[in-house]
Assembly symmetry: C2
Homo-oligomer: 225 residues x 2
């Protein structure tokens, strides 16, 4: 019985890593589709979001079953509760990648991003894919230093998000050339990427909770729930 319980707990961790890997692929592909106008790739991201949802459903059912049958405590309970929360977070991250792909698909055969915004969004795309990669590593390794790093890196993504507003609202001649559709798209994309970063921060905090047991203070590991 206990041996099966161990395996079930490991399965929760494995499923989270699997979800995070699928989210990472989704965001890499969505941003590639966005910047290159690759319709087939955008379609693939949109279709693949269902797989992420399916892993979530299975993971959630697994967590609830574990709670009902095994009544876990201490670290084991944290694994299950964190599993429930992280599956919801990762599912949302998958949705956001899909939304990015939907913008790319909606503008095809044109590119959604005008030349004016390319340089800024190249930085955003690099930052957001770094978040997606860090989330996989966080779930694989439960590294507290990396978790702290993710919190810091999000400040950079927030700063880039502010830049997108400056770009859109600058009263220069260049900017007045943006169409309403481009303004809408840049606003939405900026929001999607910012939220993706926020969810990365949420994963980092949950991993801190998982490792230390403390949902609020992050410096001092606690041993009780």
């Amino acid at each position: 019985m206990r041996e099966i319980f161990r395996q079930d707990l490991e399965q929760v961790g494995d499923d989270l890593v699997l979800m995070a890997q699928k989210v990472r692929t989704a965001m890499q592909d969505a941003t590639a589709a966005l910047t290159t106008g690759d319709l087939a790739l955008a379609e693939r991201v949109i279709a693949a979001d269902r797989e992420i949802d399916q892993v979530q459903d299975s993971l959630d059912a697994q967590c609830v079953t574990l709670l009902a049958r095994q009544a876990p405590v201490a670290t084991d309970l944290r694994v299950v509760v964190t599993g429930l929360r992280l599956s919801a977070t990762l599912e949302r991250m998958g949705d956001l990648a899909r939304h990015v792909a939907e913008v790319a698909r909606g503008r095809y055969p044109a590119l959604a991003l005008p030349p004016l915004a390319t340089e800024l969004f190249d930085q955003v795309v690099t930052a957001v894919n770094a978040v997606a990669d860090d989330v996989v590593k966080l779930l694989e390794g439960h590294d507290l230093n990396l978790a702290s790093q993710v919190l810091e890196d999000d400040d950079q993504l927030d700063a880039l998000h502010k830049e997108t507003f400056r770009l859109m609202l600058a009263p220069s001649a260049d900017v007045s050339g943006l169409s309403a559709q481009q303004l809408v798209d840049i606003t939405l994309l900026g929001r999607y990427f910012e939220r993706f970063g926020d969810h990365g921060v949420s994963v980092a905090r949950r991993i801190m909770f998982l490792v230390t047991g403390d949902p609020f203070v992050r410096e001092e590991p606690l041993t009780t729930i």
Copy 2:
């Protein structure tokens, strides 16, 4: 011991209702601040979001403690798991109300919404406040008919959201008069309200799970988890 457990479970339900009431007030005030340009009201919504977060923290801690000490099963387990999930959903709804208030504050003393968008957003505001009210009632009464109604009502909110894009992208003379700031604001507000509606749907589905025990099928009540 069992008596205390009962009280703790009831406390979870009471805290969810309290959160939902605070979210409803936040959205009512945020939309009033938005449409009337009331800066003090917008500031109040922004400040009050902390209270919602605090109820969430206390509710989450309560749920984890319940899982650890009482090892609930069946309906009781569903109450606790649903409590954890709904607290996260309600917290996000509070954030979205705050974001609406932040747009109102950011444009003060001007109104964020141009006259062109007033009529459409009056409908959106009515619909979104109906969602906020339904969420309170759902958490108070666990009414499956109301839950079904919330799912249907969200289609209307989605339709209104699509209208905001039509309004912004219509090639009429009126619309070309929208500034970049107005386009950004309408895009973001539309997104906030749409997400608020989605979270309302999520609450409705969770209540269906709570009552029926089935996370997927909604018609046939099940007695096991």
